[in-house]
Point group: C2
């Protein structure tokens, strides 16, 4: 049962308890990862299946989480488009020459998952050799979030260049989205081919756009991704932040589950999106910076929002913060498994 | 009538047409301001009533907007708390020593508006001497946004220190909020004393917190500000961004109007907050980077959301972007006054 908890919850099937995994569960809050990072840059780890599998396993050895998460960065496939990028400490992906014109978009190379990111498949296979029981989750960046990195050149709060393109050259924006959509479908299919049990699309920044813009320019591409993956029969999650104004539209993307940030109570989300989608989330990552009582109180509040204890995958609203004490994470995982058992 | 358009709309009274002003209408998109900034830093302009009034008047000479906005920065009153801060180009307010402990909070000096920010009153008076017809709007930062600048030391997307304090030391956070609330009431009263016709509270970053946190830690302080100002009888606006998940709570703050960012259609906001609040907004500032047809199409879409043409102040969803062509702004103002006339 433990092997299937995550997948069953994402499909709305009954489980023995509420499954839990944490975004960035393998990352800077863990000592093994910090040590490895002193010897290898992120991209070197991500491109080495042995190292990537090792990083993915560290939290599984320490915590009773219900899945591993492939160690990768959403920018990895950019290399296949012919783009020069780096991952800068404290900044994230930085694209050397941003994509801002029709000519820039047309100059993108054709992406091939097997040629450009074979190591992601390798990391999944290596994980499955080493971990007999728990599944591995694959992921990719959502099309808006990928586009915003390419257009801005790096993370940006206000996304001025992305929004300029949307209003001033919508056809160029749409063309870029089409290219990223194709790329993402190929990239996620590769992860399924190598054994990913479920997939998450991280469209972290999509909450920056209006409902009008989402419906006009983004719903189509996101749906195209989930439609293309549906025949494979593995569950999918669409994650975004600050996107309360988009909820009814997010429910139409074709994902099996919505990843919800810490802003809104899951019960309110359930009422707006209906009963058919699973929900994932949504403890505030900052709650783990407080003491054990606060963690339990806040986690209990999340569980109480979905009292039927079904179609819920416990997670944070965003990634684990680097300064988080691993003790708190361990306590959280135990608490959720104890308190998240369905009532008879 | 033109003199009263803004105030009447904020009070829900009929107007001859939809009033319009723009956040950052006096700013880097205008040549006079850019020229002045080559000779004076922001704080020097803000602390000189003659220069501040001049900057406030520049957009009124160029556009038929319905109000001036006092030239100030939300960080101005920090000096009265004994804090050393600067406004750094491209970054915004930077606080030399962030406020992160109970001792830091207790060390804040007592604020006195007449001692610490008299020049803001002076700038309002000078404006009213020079502009016979149109009113001036005063403003201050909202308590959460001010607190986040003090705690983080500068603008921050994820507000990690602010959220840590909220969970790990809630009593310290609440005490800081109380101090900022007192300060803000005094600061806004000074602006009313000198002739501000209406007031806006810019709680720009409050959308980063959950509904639970807003209700527990922020609704009280924000209400206290509007309750203290209500006896003066001048309308108030509460502005925030990315706060769709908070709308029902924002409706309980006691403000006369809500400033709404570009994410959500005003009609949907109206349905959630009810008929008694005026709404301000919410054209995407990026729309002004496109051509005249796009500006008209998008502005018409905003007006169409509130077809009764009442209780609506037209504005952008956020500030005018520095790269905006003043021609587009002029066209927008004319279009809103023409198309925003109530139907018979």
């Amino acid at each position: 049962m433990r092997r299937d908890r995550l997948v069953r919850a994402l499909r709305g099937e009954p489980t023995d308890t509420t499954p839990i995994w944490l975004m960035r569960q393998a990352g800077r809050h863990l000592p093994g990862y910090r040590e490895l990072r002193q010897q290898h840059p992120i991209l070197e780890i991500a491109r080495d299946p042995e190292l990537a599998a090792e990083v993915t396993l560290e939290p599984l050895r320490r915590y009773d989480v219900d899945a591993g998460v492939v160690f990768a960065d959403i920018s990895l496939p950019f290399a296949g488009l012919g783009l020069d990028f780096s991952i800068d400490p404290g900044i994230g992906p930085v694209v050397a020459r941003p994509v801002r014109t029709r000519a820039d978009v047309e100059a993108l190379q054709a992406f091939s998952a097997t040629r450009d990111v074979p190591f992601v498949g390798g990391a999944i296979e290596r994980f499955l050799e080493l971990e007999a029981e728990r599944p591995i989750l694959g992921f990719a960046g959502g099309p808006f979030t990928l586009a915003s990195y390419l257009i801005e050149g790096r993370a940006s709060r206000d996304l001025p260049e992305t929004k300029r393109l949307l209003y001033a050259e919508p056809a160029t924006f749409d063309r870029l989205l089409d290219r990223l959509t194709e790329m993402t479908i190929e990239y996620l299919r590769l992860q399924l081919d190598h054994g990913a049990a479920a997939l998450q699309l991280f469209d972290t920044w999509v909450g920056a756009v209006s409902a009008r813009t989402f419906e006009r320019h983004l719903l189509g591409p996101v749906r195209a991704i989930f439609d293309a993956l549906r025949p494979r029969g593995r569950p999918t999650i669409y994650f975004s932040t600050g996107s309360s104004h988009l909820l009814e539209l997010l429910a139409r993307t074709g994902a099996d589950a919505l990843g919800v940030d810490a802003r809104e109570p899951l019960g309110a989300v359930r009422r707006r999106v209906g009963p058919s989608l699973a929900l994932q989330g949504n403890l505030d990552p900052a709650a783990l910076l407080a003491g054990p009582e606060v963690v339990r109180r806040e986690a209990a509040a999340v569980l109480a929002e979905l009292p039927e204890r079904r179609s819920h995958v416990f997670n944070l609203g965003h990634g684990v913060l680097p300064e988080t004490d691993p003790e708190r994470v361990g306590e959280l995982v135990r608490f959720v498994h104890e308190a998240g058992v369905p009532r008879r």
